[in-house]
Amino acid sequence: MQRSFIAKNPSVLIFLACLALFTLIVTVLSEGFGVGVISTSFVKTLGKTLCLCLVAVAMDLIWGFTGILSLGHFAFFGLGGYMIGMWLMYERTRLIVVESLSQTEIPATSSEIIDGIGNQIFGVVGSSDFPLIWAFSDSLVLQLAMVVLVPGLLALVFGWFAFRSRVTGVYLSILTQAMTLALALYLFQNDSGLRGNNGLSGLQNLPGVTASQDEVSLWFLWASALALGLGYLLAAWVVSGKLGSVILGIRDNEARVRFLGYSVETYKLVVFTFTACIAAIAGALYYPQAGIINPAEIAPIASIYLAVWVAIGGRGRLYGAVIGAAFVSLLSTWFTGGQAPDIPLGFYTVKWVDWWLVLLGLSFVVVTLFAPKGMGGLVDLLTQRKSPNRHGADLGPDDGALREQEASQ
């Protein structure tokens, strides 16, 4: 009666295969290790897109499966980026300072080195002392731990207060917007300790690595693909079991779940914190590819875009979120990057840089009203149309039994 996890969820296998194939093709066509058809900057765009897909998976878990429309998950994404950015910036500055001080005749003391790093990093905000939050920035291991711990703790504390007082629906969404806005405003201040609106920069340069960006960009692409694959697998495993039943139940009727004896607040808190950690990991992989992070990245609008991607892709199914994030964010890059041809109407020229947001907003409204399943719904159409055709059909009597093409592999 019990079938294995993969057999019950054939879409997971298909997804992982597509992801692996994508990574392979990009690698072969890249400048770093391949024939050089795809530019390094585009490899970075693709790598960043994979990170956005991962945070979309997190968004789908919290919104599509648990029914909590969080409009604050980019706060966790950004915090993850800041945490890894602190080490990248510290370590690289340290190497530069040590290098320049080694020219002097008397060897530099360690406090001179620290002062030098402080001057370099905080000079832009008129300071040279390390704020307390940089205490661990000299340790990669600790700073990596903080990628998960800091956003995780923020989510835990915020969620504990919000869920315990049973804030739901649109009020909760507003509360999450307030959280991300407050965090962004705080970081904008020069004395926040994270360089105010300058943010952290030069993150694309890995300290001590001499390889060119052509190669480093591919490392990050692979790491992002691995993170997305693992994150997707974990999310699919979580929702395939009884925990998935419970959170779907919370989405559809949370009062009923309570009367079954499940502590709804605890489950919400667990999923909220878990997805915040996934978002943070995605952010920690994203910003070294972007090269720079500043407080504008966690402005409230960023989290709203995230919800739009998931809605357009199709919430409540993990691959829908991935498709939505990849499609919309790449399209957005194309339109806002000025590559899309303008449309001259004679009396007026439609410039996509200005009009893209209008188009996106309209598509969001249209999808919400007329295609609530989003782009993922197309998969339903496709598989239904295919099913009378024996090729590729299920071999067993049950849905999700081994498929012909899988069996012949």
């Binding site: 039943s245 559809d252 009727n253 079954l260």
Partner: protein, 246 residues
């Protein structure tokens, strides 16, 4: 017979309107009880109080051998203590299969970590199959419960209640919208359940209550008007005036 649940002197006010007025109610282990009363008498609100959904303004609700007060517990804790509830409107998780609905209700640890690691074993699957057999949904185990008929959803909800193995079952208008045959099946289910646990059934339909053949409590304007056998309460002049004589 031991008292399982004791409600005493409970009152609830909604915006100045007294929905429950100094209500007292007792039920023992393995007792079947019917609660009747006109619309708006406070029957559903009474269940809301016992299950922790509504907090009373005054009064006590005492539960079980250890005489715990339910007023200090939340809905999940009360359910874990052994009180199951069926709603007036059938509420099953429509996006999930009958099997998933039953597995979710099955008496198992409710903590998130054990739920995360839980994978149904053969014993659990047999248990859900046996329950599905009892509620007549064996054929529908792998169907989405949203596809079931109204009556089948009511049964599924009763099945989920049984899966919880509660000591007290609160059932709100289980026969509403059912055909006569379906009603009969429902009566059988409730009678069977009441052999091993306490069951409180709220119902409008007198025929249905007669078939349950149990002690009856009549509610009116938030308090108990009469209590006793069905014949006893239906011959009570107050009851005839407010309820039956209309």
């Amino acid at each position: 017979m031991n008292t399982l649940l004791e409600v005493s002197g409970v009152s609830v006010t909604f915006d100045g309107f007294r929905a429950i007025n100094n209500l007292s109610f007792q039920i023992g282990d393995a007792e079947l009880r019917a609660v009747i009363g006109p619309n708006g008498a406070g029957k559903t609100t009474f269940m809301d109080i016992v299950t922790g959904k509504t907090r009373p303004d005054e009064g006590r609700v005492i539960w079980g051998d250890k005489s715990q007060s339910l007023l200090k517990m939340n809905e999940a804790k009360i359910a874990q203590a052994g009180i199951g509830r069926k709603f007036q409107k059938p509420t099953v998780f429509e996006d999930q299969t009958v099997q998933e609905n039953l597995l979710m209700a099955l008496k198992k640890p409710r903590g998130w970590l054990s739920v995360l690691m839980y994978r149904a074993n053969t014993a659990d699957l047999e248990k859900t199959a046996a329950l599905a057999q009892e509620i007549g949904l064996l054929e529908e185990l792998s169907r989405k419960s949203g596809e079931l008929s109204h009556g089948q959803k009511q049964w599924l909800e009763i099945g989920m209640l049984l899966a919880q193995e509660p000591r007290l079952l609160l059932v709100d208008e289980p026969a509403a919208g059912m055909t006569p045959q379906e009603r009969e099946h429902t009566t059988d289910l409730l009678l069977e359940a009441a052999k091993t646990r306490a069951v409180v059934v709220v119902e409008h339909d007198m025929e249905f209550v007669r078939r349950l053949n149990c002690k009856v409590t009549v509610l009116h304007e938030g308090s108990v008007l009469a209590e006793g056998s069905l014949d006893h309460v239906t011959s009570n002049q107050n009851v005839i005036d407010v309820y039956l004589g209309r």
